[in-house]
Structure formats: C-alpha cells, structure tokens
Amino acid sequence: MTTTYNDFVIRFGNVNGSGSASANGMFPKALFRMGIPVAIRNLFPSNIQGLPTWFEVRVSERGYLGRREGVDIMVAMNAETYREDVESLLPGGYLLHDTSKPLPSVLKRNDIFELGIPISTMLLSEFSDPKQRSLFKNVVYIGALSELLNMEFEVITNMVATQFRGKDALIKPNIHALEIGRQYARDYLPCPLPIQVRRSTAVGERILIDGNTAGALGALYGGATVCAWYPITPSTSLAEAFEKYALKLRVDPDSGDRKFVFMQAEDELSAIGIVIGAAWNGARAFTATSGPGISLMTEFLGLAYFAEIPAVVFDVQRSGPSTGMPTRTQQGDLLAAAYASHGDTKHVLLFPSTPVECFDFGALALDLADRLQTPVIIMSDLELGMNDSLSEPLVWDDARKYDRGKVLDADDLENVEQFGRYLDVDGDGIGYRTYPGTHPEKGSFFTRGTSRDEFARYTESPDAYEQNMQRLLEKWATAATLVPEAEIVSSGQRAAILYYGTSALPMREALDLLAEEGISLDTIRIRGFPFGKEVYEFIARHEFVFVVDQNRDSQMKTLLVTEGALDPAKLIPVIYYAGLSISADTIQSQVSGYFTMRKMPRLKVVKS
C-alpha cells in the first residue's frame, strides 16, 4: 500500500463531559505546529454531560479546509455510538478502539483495519485515582496516534507542558499516559500506518483561531465600549472573549478603571435595547446572539432602522427554526436578519468567511453602523464561530481612525445655520446627529419610532412620511457602496457559482473536483448586503449562476431575486442544511448533477 502524507480525516467519538475535548484538541494543534493545515470540527450535543460528541480533524497538505465525507481513522471511545462510528469509516479505514471489553462481533467489518488497544486495562495498574484513569484514556490514544501516524512526539509533550504550566503536578502523569499509548502502539500495532503525517510549510504565517474570538477582538479594536448580551449557543464565546480581552487590554493598570462595560442582560430584547440606548448616546455598542435572539430583537431592530441609530449585532447562526438544533451550524437567518421587523425594514449584513474576516468585519461594522446610522448584522455561524480555523493573522493599522459618521459637536452646532436631524444635507440619505448633552441651546432633538419630519418633529403627514421612507432608500443605496465588495474570480465562463460565509471553506476543493469532471465555473463570494452593483453585473454576465446556501429555502437566492429583480430561473440553488457544514462533495454532486440533468457540455469527456 502506498503511503500518503498529510491527507486524511480522523474522527474521535467520545462521551460529552468525559474530558475528551482537551486531549482531542492536542491532536490538531500538534499537526498545526508541524506546519500541516488542519480543519477542526467539534460536533457536540446540546448537553453538558453524557451525550455523544464527535471531534473531527481534516488534515490536508493542499489546504482543503471544508468538510469531506467519510472517515479514514475512527477513534471510537463511545459504546453508545459504536455502530454508527464503525459504519462511518471508508473502506480501508482504521478503527482505533479500547479492547478492554470485547468488540461485539456483529459490528465487525471486513473492509477496515482494527487498531485495538487495551486502554482501560493498562491504566488500571498505572493510576490509582479512578478519575485520572478515566481522563487519561483520552491521552493514551493520542500517544498511540503519535506513533501510528509518525507525529513529532516532542511537539505534543511541549504542548502538555505549556497547557499545564502552573499546574506542574499534572504534566508528568499526562506525559506518562501519552507514553503508555505510544509504547503500546510501538510494541503491538503496525506502526507507522500508510496514512502518515510529516512536517510541512503549508501553514505558513497562519494562526489557528475561532471566529468568535476573532470577532470579539474586532469589536474591541473597533472601539466598542458596551457589550450587552444574553447567553446563547453558539454566540456566547464571542461575548465572553470580548470580556476576557477587554479585562486584559482596556483596564487602567493604576486605577483598575475599565474602559468598557460588559453587561449580561436579562434577555435579548434588553441586550439590543442597551446597545441602542448606548449608541444613541454616542458609545460604540454591540451584542452577540443567534437566531432565536434575532427573533426577539426584531422590534428593536426596526426601531433602530427607522429612528436611525447605530447598532452592531453578531448573529452566530445555528440550525433553526425555533430551538432547532442549537449546537449545529446553518445559514438560516438571512431573511430574518435582512428584513427584521414589521413595516418596510432592511438591514445591512456582512458575511465573514474566515476568522480574519470576523475580526475585520467586527471593527468595520462599528464604522458602518456609525456612518449609516443603522444596525449592521454580522452573519457568522457555528461552523466559523466555534471551531478553530486556519486564518491569516489579524492585522491592525495603527494609523486607522474610527469613522464616527456624521456627528455634530458643540462647535459645529455654533456654525450650523439650521439643524435638522433628518435633513439630507449631503444627498446620501444620511442626516447629521448629535449626542445628548452636546450644546445648551442647539442640536437637541426627539428620537422616536413614530413618523417625524426632517426636524424630528412628530407628524402624520403622508408627504413627510413618504419622503422619509424614500430617504431611507437613498441611504440604502449609499450602504451598497460602503459594504465590502464581493470577491470575484472570473475566467469568462458561462456559468458561475455564488457563495458566502462558511461555504467558502469547501469551495476551492469543490471547484477542483468539478474541474476534474470538466466543469469550470466563475466564482463570486458575497461579503455584504445590500449587494453592490458588481454583484448584479456579475450575474448579468453569466448564463446561470449556482447559489450556495446552507439553508433549506435558498435564502440568498431570495435576497438576490427580491433586491435585484432577477429572473429566479437563472439562479440554481445548491443546498445543504442538515446541521453539519456543507462539504465539497455536496457542492460537486449538486453542480455536476445539474450539468448531467441538463445535458450541458463539459470541457472534456469524463473518464468513467
């Protein structure tokens, strides 16, 4: 059998709350430190202890970071899921399991290789503490894998030393457990396997960070001073990361004074209310939530749209509707977020695909919200938010100034002939605002969700109402010129594929797979809503465009058709929404299937 390097999928099946997360986490981190690209997916239940959990690592020298169907190595540590874990292996795959109890013969497969290790039995004589025995089971198989896959052992032991710095008593037994596994593999298993790893330079300068942490850092660097939030998976870690870094970076070392407020509200209504109140009063404020939170925030989002108050919302999407699958990913909130609230309401959306974009858009959203005086919603998802991903390093330009938008201070007001909060002085649909307390005589106004004239005076005049609503459309047009442009790769193909967010992860691999079948597509990655003119021009240039959505109802297609008055027949949905992230195989099969069904010509004949 030929040996392959840095190209496999390994999955760990464990019981939630058994301490597997930290041991499993060492595995991809060690490969990352060997310079090998990894993509990590933590599939966890909505549960704290006892239910099945999986941890999947895709190792890819070519840097394919999307999910790939099928498992090459299964570390099956959970009796409850043993059957499906064995079934998930591709033919020729490896099943690593604890042989302390015999494997039921009904679960045997002839087309896979078994790597049995008597983990529990070995630990019985090594550790007297039953809790340690249980925890170190996970460490033992990491030790065995290091030998089986030819990993650099000292990379792992160094990590253990770093991880338990300050708790030195834990370092020795952890390394001992690693060595037990490593020694057993060396003595009894066919080491190394034909599936191996080796040091690489493919990672380059990239870091391994989750999107939620990166997004929180973006908000921090962007000058957010108020974070009001309500705990909800999968966004919680974003708010908590903001607090963690703010406590490090925004506290006066002498006085202990904090240049931020981190406030856990009683619910999402209150969280967005606090954000809007703070932003109305001139502070940069944001919240982090997920679909159910967006539902609760809709009334306030409508107020902020109509009363023209900045607000930044991170929507780390999960599977809906309702409580749905709270620990599974989806892009199901597009329409709910884009048109959140009653009446004619539209919101600016940003679609990050990578942690570095979570950071960039986190800071940018604060600028855009101030500039446009309206809510800006960053559409992340669980896949991006909660998994560590390879990302370009985060970059900040120290010369950068915050764009606080059109705000008049006391001096400005002295020089303004006539202040009207909603006067469109510059013709971009955006008026000038003032913060409370600015000037003793000038610039005060009344903010309300009811209709008003250009001077913020209550009115039910049909003309004034209509004029105001039309001006909001002017502002919407301005927004289309300010959101990040779509990323386009074009080689003059007649067909194209449009995608956004985490569908970018498997895209390069999907395009490579399609190219092997003679299908070449131009690509466009949407990064903002409202769509810029480049989006409509791109679609106009192509005969048909596949639209990749990780939701059932092709919500991005709906947005395109609605906002651009496009022919729906031209936009071909590519859909996956079952809770995992979309795989390259899924995109390839749906696109390829469409070509086959329509008997479309390909560049070359596919060898059967």
Partner: protein
C-alpha cells in the same frame, strides 16, 4: 397637538434660577394628552423641579417607552435629547444611555402598562442593575391610548368605566422596587404638586436608582366612581408617611452644611431628618408616623402592604439609602463618559495584536 406652538415671549418678571434660566426654559411642547390628564401635572412638576435644581436643561437625557405617559417627555425639557423607544423596553434603553455617559441626568418616564405589564421584566432588571436615574411611572391603572383596558396595577375589584370589575390582583411597582434593591423609592399623586416636586428633585439628585410611582388619574377612562385610581379615591385614601423637602445648597447655612453629617437618624414624630445629597444639598425628611423608618426597605415594604390591606394608599418617600452605589461603581467603569473615549483609549494597537496572533500559533 404639536401644531400648536408655545409663545416664545414670557413674563419679564418670571423668576430666574441660579444659572439665569426661567421655568419656561425647562418646558417642552404643548401636551397632546386629554385636558385634565394627571400626566400633565407630572410634566409640570418635572419642569418646576428641574428648573429649581438649576441644572442646564441639555444635561438631561429623557427616555420613555410607549403609551400616554411615554409621550410626556415631549412636554418638558425641550432642550434635552429625548428618546421615545419601544413599549415596555425603556429600562434597557435607559441602561444603555446611562452606560454611554454617566455624567448626564437620566429621567425615564413610563406608565403602568409600560412598566408593570409588557415591561415588567425589564423594570425588575433595571432596579437590580442600580442604574443612576430617576424612573418615574405615571400610574393610572388603565390603557389610555387603546381606550380603557385594565393594566396590571389596577386593583382587584376596581371597576372599569362600564362597571366591570377587575378580576386580578395588582402588581405594586413600589413593592417590586423595594424588594429588588432600589435605593430611593417613593409614591406620590399627580394632584399633590407640593409633595411631588421635592420628591422629583430628590430623585434626580439621588445617586443610584430612584423610583417614583405617581398615581396619575386618567380623566378619560379611569376617573369614575368604583375606580381606585380616580382623583377622588386617591385624595380620600392616601396617607402621607414621610414628607420630603429638598433644601438647595444655596439656601443652606454654611455652618449647618458643615455639621449635617452629625445629625442622627433617630428622630421623634414631627421632627426632621436631614439626608445629605451628592451636590451638597439637603433632603429634609419629616416623619409623620413614628413607627416608620425610611432607611429600612423591609419595614417599608411591610408598611405599604399593611396599609394597602386597610385600603390606604401610602404616599411620600418610602425608602432612601444615601450611601447607595450605582451601576458604574459596581462595574468599575472609568469616570470619563464612555462616549468620549477615543482611539488612544480604546484601541490596543498593532503590537498587542502581534502578541495575540502569537498566542494562536
């Protein structure tokens, strides 16, 4: 309606306050509420209180929810920013506004529907958060703008205009505020300006969360016989427990100010207790019931409920903690308003980011 513009000129002999402004400088637009509405008396009391405190009008931020009461921030303090937000959600907006700039005087006006029905949750939580503000409820026990439905503060058995009795027990916001840690709690009556104005002044100057429940009859839908929120009922059933008077710094004898800390909390009925306020003024309290202790929130709760059982509406200052801390102190926020911080204060810079990147390798 707002089409009616108040005349700009005013009587040349109108008294001016310490900063040279008259009461007219603290007024708002002409009210669009019904003639005789209790809420307009409350707005007038707010105008008088703010003028007497000599705080520049633009130093206030006014917030409200939705309803008749929540319209009233248009009718006072025209030179301050106001925010008429979402039904029942003023507390969160007020929280955000206060977080952004702790230097402004924040006045929230709400109603019984806004705070005890749709917004009861938000009301409870803003009390817990100790936001430094005056939270004032115009309590009329009814939904005025939708024409006379019962609200959650309406007493059981109190009847609607058509004579239908309310079937449910009331929520008493004063009791809620006492229970959840408000550091200043009072109840008043829109028909008693002499009581209300000093309470508003004390509430504005109080450091911490100040709550005043103002029974403010609805002349259109809840001012009939059988209602326990009518002018007549409240006049005949209210008992004043602690009279609050707000003595300005300017009116104080300097020696008196220097010594006021020594005044003990113990006093006989009919005598006074002086509570120092953050600006150096004095909140002078006269106790009308010798068994009442204005610094004991548990006793106050008990007292209000016992009197309620006897059909009496207790008004006046019910509880005050002059040593209270506010949300910003609890959170250790920097003294400077958050909305005045700039890049140098807020952005950790590229070097810190390089170190953060390194921690993810």
């Amino acid at each position: 309606m707002t089409f009616v513009v108040k005349p700009k000129v005013h009587h040349p002999l109108l008294p001016v306050n310490e900063i040279g402004l008259t009461r007219r400088d603290y007024e708002g637009l002409v009210s669009t509420l019904c003639a005789g509405c209790g809420h307009d008396s409350v707005s007038a009391a707010l105008v008088q209180a703010c003028a007497e405190l000599s705080i520049p009008p633009h130093q206030f931020a006014k917030v409200s929810g939705i309803g008749c009461s929540s319209k009233t921030p248009s009718y006072f303090l025209d030179k301050s920013h106001g925010f008429n937000s979402v039904h029942g959600r003023m507390p969160s907006v007020a929280t955000g506004a206060n977080l952004a700039n702790r230097k402004l005087y924040c006045i929230g006006v709400s109603g019984d529907g806004d705070s005890a029905s749709i917004g009861f949750g938000q009301f409870a939580h803003i009390v817990r958060r100790r936001i430094n503000m005056l939270y004032l409820v115009d309590n009329n026990g009814t939904y005025g703008l939708t024409k006379g439905q019962f609200s959650a503060t309406n007493d059981k058995g109190s009847t609607s205009k058509k004579g239908v009795p309310n079937l449910y027990d009331p929520i008493d916001l004063v009791c809620t505020a006492l229970q959840l840690g408000a550091s200043f709690v009072a109840r008043s009556f829109s028909g008693d300006k002499g009581q209300l104005v000093p309470l508003i002044k004390a509430g504005i100057m109080h450091h911490g969360f100040a709550f005043i429940d103002v029974i403010s009859p609805c002349v259109a839908f809840n001012n009939h016989e059988g209602s326990t929120k009518s002018f007549e009922y409240v006049r005949n059933h209210s008992g004043h427990v602690v009279v609050a008077d707000y003595v300005e710094v300017a009116d104080l004898d300097p020696d008196y100010v220097a010594n006021h800390e020594e005044i003990t909390a113990d006093y006989a009925p009919g005598t006074t207790e002086d509570v120092p306020m953050p600006d150096g003024s004095i909140l002078r309290l006269s106790k009308l019931d010798k068994n009442f202790d204005v610094h004991d929130s548990v006793a106050a709760l008990n007292y209000v409920q016992q009197r309620q059982e006897e059909g009496e509406v207790v008004t006046g200052l019910l509880y005050v903690d002059p040593e209270a801390s506010d949300c910003h102190e609890v959170l250790h926020t920097v003294n400077q308003p958050l909305n005045a911080l700039e890049e140098a204060d807020l952005c950790p810079g590229s070097d810190a980011l390089t170190a953060i990147n390194a921690s993810f390798r």
